[in-house]
Amino acid sequence: MAATDIQPEPVQIDFTKELLSSSELFQRRSRSHKIPVRGQKEFLPNYSVQQKACLQKTLDEHWMLMTEERLERAGNLVNAEWIPEEKIVKLQSPAGKFWQTMGFSDQGKQCLFPEEALYLMECGSLQVFYQDLPLSIQEGYETFLSAETVTFLQYQVFGHLKRLGYVVNRFDARPSKQLKRKWSRSPSFRLCAKKSTASPEVSAGQHKGEIKTSVPYSNLETPGQLQRQQTFQDDALKSDPESDRAPERNWWTNVSRQLQPDSLQTSEHCWDFSCIFFPDLGSYSGNRACLPPPDPSLLPGALQVSECHLAHWHRNIHLKEECWSKQKWQRDQERNRCSINDDQEVCRCRNWVEYLELLEKRRSQQHNERPTHLGEQEVMPLAQPGKCSSHRELLEQVSIIQSYDLLVGNSRLPGSDHWRITFNVYQPDTEFKKSYPGKPYTHLCVCSFDGPVPDLHALKELSFQSGDVSVTFAVVDHGDISFYCFKEFKLPTDVY
């Protein structure tokens, strides 16, 4: 267009065409709300009279629907005022039913976000005034929608979902209280809590895209701390299964003492249940007649529990050896087929000492047979012979690329401004409460077909922001909206 250097000139627009007269207004108060059904589409125009008539009819209906103006009784309208400084709409008359799912109170005043107000304007339930004049829907689009509030693209998605009945509100990147409460119950909560307290600037800057400038130096130390925390925790977790396997479990006082410092320091009321074991009486041999008293810190105040004599309980336990079926026995035999008696060299041993010598000899032989370039140098084989007892273990040892969880450890990725979650979406049929919205059905990220596909970095960042709620991408293509989501998929590793 060559209009750039021409003086911007006022354009006269005939506004009167679409204004209804009083009689029109009055007549149309009771009009039908039916939408004509469109018939089946045809393949090729054949210019027949019938086809032309059909097209004309559809077109007429189309124009009729499109031309129709919005009309409401004054009594059904809620009035509101646009406050441009705050970018919100303040209600001037009591809100309608929409208040159940929309709006918020600010100093006793009922307010709406611009996108909510615009949607309600389109629904014919709200009239927004600015300086005592009502805004048309066009003016609503032009003044309410901006990068600071909600963009046109985002509003299209908002309107689409609202029209379908979903409850949609803005996504707040700060984790809500209930979310925190939930996190604190999950096993990894300590790590996460540490993260969020250690680097508030990082998490705050993340969605504003100003991260690099505002991170103080002290925060750069956190990865080390985190790692330490992580390894400590890993150790704690690892120790659990081992103690599990031990023939005589050190439960009760001993074990819980070992792990106490960690779990008690962080939160006294949160017991780490993975460290408190239930006594396994079955594996106790007869010579231990009593259980030590339980750790007093685990008991309610005044309660005192002394040693517990087992003999009485032991009688109630089924201690007979399990009768295996013949098949199972055979299977077991097959598995251990190479009996020690088949070994010729072992048979030649005359006494215990010779047998031990033989074992020692074999062990050193095995050691010597191993190629020297393996084991002693910097470059090591991924799996050592004889170190793996199952396929799974072997696979775990030889895997170079570890399977990767989108949610783990990305708080330090630089935030990008382009990708962010815009809306929380709640399902229509649930009973929604604004004061306690609960967990959203999904989080929505609005993007356009003209833009790029989110890369792994963006996905990771979004899923981190989103927590345990799924992220759905609403892709807008000139008014046409499609919803996509990326699902994490774990390859099955169960191999026998």
Binding site: F15, S21, S22, F26, R29, L65, R70, I137
Partner: protein, 321 residues
């Protein structure tokens, strides 16, 4: 309905204030405008939108610009099957409209703060509202009267010999006229879809002919040339993001016909990986549409503007038996 009148009064006031030559010039300009630029594309961000029903109709009927309706339907706003104004245009559609001289792109000014004119507009708006109320009140009374009359007539027909009936009717009508009240809450109010005008006095709704905020890269250029060529061949086009292409190509009005082609715009010398081609061809055959690759021929070498031509190639699976 005095709104038209009031507006023209304001206009004439204005014109008095101006010098006479200026008025002439302006009138001339306006006449030209009425002929040339009747469709107003308003921009929301960088998205071209049409708001007036007449504009939308004109674009579809005269230029074959379809666009997409993106607003809630006035008649039944809470559904997505049929939508209402505004109509969102593709950048190519908007560009074609502007190029053919059917439209001007406008960016509106911020909501005006001019207190004086604002005050006048508010007064006008209130007066109009009041007038509308009174007229609707009268209409409601008329309607009530008509209903009463009809009911009485029916009764009269049943008891033909009743002498006092007519008198009773008259009495009832009189009392109705005295006691009738039309509650303000029952009054119908129009919620304007397009800019209604009274929030801006004529002299201040200075829309700026906007700098076209359209990207002018190679891709948009290619898309536009393909769009223009296909449109000139009589096809109707809509957007085809869901089908992985640039346009869906319809043989007739998309309201009544299925799309036949998925158009993919590619510059002549662009290299495309074979698997991309296979993917879109497979997708096209799945939705029973033919994929066509559209490449505008390079005209930049031959200095002068020659007849623009686009090369089309269709993709088809061929089985060799």
């Amino acid at each position: 309905m005095d709104w038209n009148a009031t507006e023209s009064i304001i206009q004439s006031d204005e014109q008095h204030a101006e010098s006479s030559e200026c008025v002439d010039a302006r009138n001339k300009r306006e006449e030209e405008k009425v002929e040339n630029q009747t469709v107003n594309i308003s921009l929301c961000g960088s998205t071209p939108l049409l708001w007036r029903a007449a504009d939308i109709r004109k674009c579809r009927e005269e230029v074959g610009v379809i666009g997409t309706l993106v607003g809630s339907l006035a008649r039944q706003p809470r559904q997505n099957i049929r939508l209402g104004r505004p109509l969102e245009l593709l950048q190519e559609e908007a560009r074609l409209l502007v190029q053919t001289g059917k439209a001007t792109a406008l960016r509106h000014k911020e909501l005006s703060e001019n207190a004086g004119s604002r005050l006048k507009a508010v007064e006008l708006y209130r007066a109009r509202l009041e007038q509308s109320y009174e007229e609707q009140c009268a209409l409601a009374l008329e309607e009530r009267k008509a209903v009463l009359q009809r009911v009485m007539n029916e009764k009269q027909n049943v008891h033909k010999d009743n002498e006092g009936a007519e008198l009773a009717v008259r009495e009832r009508l009189e009392s109705l006229e005295k006691s009738f009240s039309f509650p303000r809450s029952a009054m119908a109010i129009q919620l304007y879809t397009a800019r209604a005008g009274f929030s801006h006095c004529p002299e201040e709704h200075a829309f700026l002919a906007a700098d076209w905020p359209m990207p002018r890269d190679e891709r948009s250029e290619t898309r536009f040339r393909v769009y223009k060529d296909l449109r000139s061949k009589g096809f109707y086009l809509t957007t085809a993001g869901k089908f992985g292409g640039d346009y869906l190509v319809y043989p007739g009005d998309p309201l009544r016909f299925h799309a036949h082609f998925i158009a993919l715009c590619l510059p002549m010398d662009e290299k495309v990986p074979l698997c991309d081609i296979l993917a879109i061809a497979r997708l096209g055959s799945n939705v029973k549409k033919t994929v066509i690759l559209c490449s505008p021929q390079d005209t930049s070498d031959s200095g002068e503007e020659i007849e623009e031509e686009v090369v089309y190639s269709s993709l088809q699976w061929s089985g060799i038996v």
